[in-house]
């Protein structure tokens, strides 16, 4: 390794006039961070492969009048979301908790000591990337899967009522779930711990609550993140699910509440 003992000189570049931290610059930094880690590419590739793969696997073996006949046309095609809510969730957790487990957070918060712009930018970048990737995947998966369903009772097209809304709603729901996971990661500060909380609270708890024989829990369960995501993935209204509007609102509130708590603690806690 060569050692240069040259004297560092103050650069007289034009940008010295505006060297301040701006929200746009922090966004750019978080964008750069996201794409320079292999884990991002792996979790996003898995998301695409699982959505397309599960969609094709289910529709290729579909027979009219089987157990899935009464399932919503979009939900049937996007059943891969049972897995992709985990891949997107893990990506969200890695964005925040991953920085704590590696120590990178100390650099991030030394460079942006006001701290909150880092969290907002992480959430914005992850939300936008997850939404875009899932949306594009959904619009590829649906026509592809429908090719296997043309002669069945689940035949549908993009033009059918509610289909586009459900494909977009699913992408928005997964993106919000990713932001929720990102908030959990920031709160828990450990990757395995956060994944445990995500799976436990978001995916197992609703199943437990649903077993309870109370009317009120049914209404609550319907608005929990994973159930709201499922409601959003419906092209047609169904009797025991939340409406698309209230499902989206629930997910926005879950994500916002988690992120707000994370912000509060990020500002208060030592790094």
């Amino acid at each position: 390794m060569t050692t240069t003992a040259t004297t560092p000189t103050r650069p007289n570049t034009a940008d010295r006039t505006t060297p301040d931290i701006t929200p746009r610059r922090v966004l750019r930094s978080e964008w750069h961070k996201l794409w320079t880690l292999r884990s991002t590419w792996i979790t996003l590739a898995l998301t695409v492969v699982l959505t397309v793969g599960v969609g094709v696997a289910i529709t290729a073996t579909y027979e009219s009048g089987g157990g899935d006949s009464d399932m919503d046309a979009v939900l049937l095609v996007l059943l891969g979301m049972q897995f992709t809510q985990i891949t997107i969730g893990v990506l969200g957790i890695l964005v925040t908790a991953g920085e704590y487990s590696t120590g990178m957070i100390r650099s991030s918060l030394t460079v942006v000591p006001r701290r909150l712009p880092v969290l907002w930018s992480k959430a914005a970048v992850l939300g936008a990337v997850a939404f875009t990737v899932v949306l594009a995947t959904n619009f590829v998966t649906f026509p592809l899967a429908q090719a296997f369903l043309s002669d069945t009772d689940q035949s549908a097209s993009l033009g059918d009522p509610g289909v586009v809304r459900a494909l977009v709603g699913n992408a928005a729901g997964l993106a919000l779930l990713g932001v929720l996971a990102l908030g959990i990661g920031s709160l828990i500060r450990s990757v395995p711990g956060s994944i445990g909380v995500l799976i436990g609270a978001v995916m197992i708890l609703p199943e437990v609550l649903a077993i309870l024989p109370y009317e009120v829990t049914d209404a609550v369960v319907r608005h929990l993140p994973a159930q709201a995501l499922m409601s959003l993935t419906h092209a047609q209204p169904a009797p025991d699910i939340a409406s698309p509007g209230s499902a989206l609102l629930s997910l926005v509130l879950w994500a916002a509440a988690t992120l707000a708590t994370a912000a509060l603690l990020l500002k208060r806690r030592d790094v």
């Binding site: 003992a5 650069p11 060297p19 301040d20 931290i21 790094v271």
Partner: protein, 306 residues
């Protein structure tokens, strides 16, 4: 300029830093010394706003670090704990930091060159040696061309060439008028690099002095004398302020007078001398003396000093 005012940090019942006040001025290298566990890293983290003080405050220039609109231009810091994502390359790590302040790619390439990391720039940090990791941390600290540089144990893990490089770098940064605040648990290293010293033990300020004063105050030095008539000579030399210890039979370690006086006294009384060796007080010993009561793990340190 860094100012600490009554900085105090408590973790539960344990007080890591207690009522610490000092000023670090531009244009010189200020060494921040203390045994392991003395509170150096905690103090530095409080200056950088990573830990919030239980009491007191720290400012850089006229305000708290976090209140600067462009913190990277004010302070560049190397923290003791690893602060990188090992999966990123060195270049991308620095770029993610640079983006927050709109620092151009050319500056990233410049600090990579400055720290001798150009060839390793596109390798993942995972494969870096301890020394390369330190160089990357220093590259990050210099990224914003800051007026103040805070380095926590920068020579850790560096090879002798790297240690020499750090010394030269720190001195040149100070010569450019920057404030340079560098921590170490090694007095000998600081004696070669720093001009000013802030010494702490158990989170308390023990000394805020210059290296020259510290050396002077640590004692006039010891003179080693080897003579067959040790007892006689010791008797002749003893007096107020003179401290004589016997090492091996026939060897005296005399503190509080100089070699000339000892030589003349011996000559006057016809005492043969086989050896008369003045030695400057060991800085490391003076430092240990100062911090003896303040070390966190006394047994270990005393064992090492014996």
């Amino acid at each position: 300029m860094i100012t600490a005012q009554q900085l105090t940090k408590r973790y539960g019942n344990r007080t890591a830093v207690s009522d610490l006040s000092f000023t670090v001025r531009p244009g010189t290298v200020t060494g921040f010394l203390g045994p392991n566990g003395a509170g150096k890293s905690t103090t530095m983290r409080m200056i950088l706003g990573l830990d919030s003080p239980t009491r007191g405050r720290a400012t850089i220039g006229d305000r708290a670090y976090a209140a600067h609109p462009a913190p990277l231009r004010e302070v560049g810091a190397l923290l003791e704990a690893r602060s990188v994502h090992p999966g990123r390359t060195a270049y991308h790590h620095l770029m993610t930091l640079a983006h927050t302040h709109g620092i151009p790619r050319s500056r990233v390439e410049h600090v990579l060159d400055l720290t001798g990391l150009t060839d390793a720039a596109h390798r993942r940090i995972k494969g870096f040696s301890l020394g390369m990791g330190q160089r990357l941390g220093i590259a990050a600290a210099l990224l914003g061309d800051p007026a103040t540089v805070i380095l926590d144990e920068p020579v850790n893990g560096l090879d002798p060439e790297g240690v020499l490089w750090i010394r030269t770098l720190l001195k040149s940064l100070a010569a450019q008028g920057r404030t340079v605040f560098v921590s170490s648990h090694l007095m000998s290293e600081m004696a070669l690099t720093a001009e000013h010293l802030v010494i702490i033990g158990r989170g308390r300020l023990l000394a805020d002095t210059t290296v020259a004063d510290f050396i002077r105050e640590s004692g006039a030095g010891t003179v080693k004398v080897v003579t067959p008539e040790a007892t006689t000579l010791a008797g002749l030399l003893s007096g107020p302020g003179v401290d004589i210890t016997r090492d091996t039979p026939g060897t005296l370690l005399i503190h509080g007078t100089d070699a000339e006086h000892i030589g003349r006294t011996a000559a006057t009384h016809g005492i043969p001398l086989f050896e008369l060796t003045p030695s400057a007080a060991s800085l490391e010993e003076a430092f240990m003396e100062l911090t003896r009561d303040a070390v966190e793990f006394a047994a270990t340190v005393e064992g090492a000093a014996a």
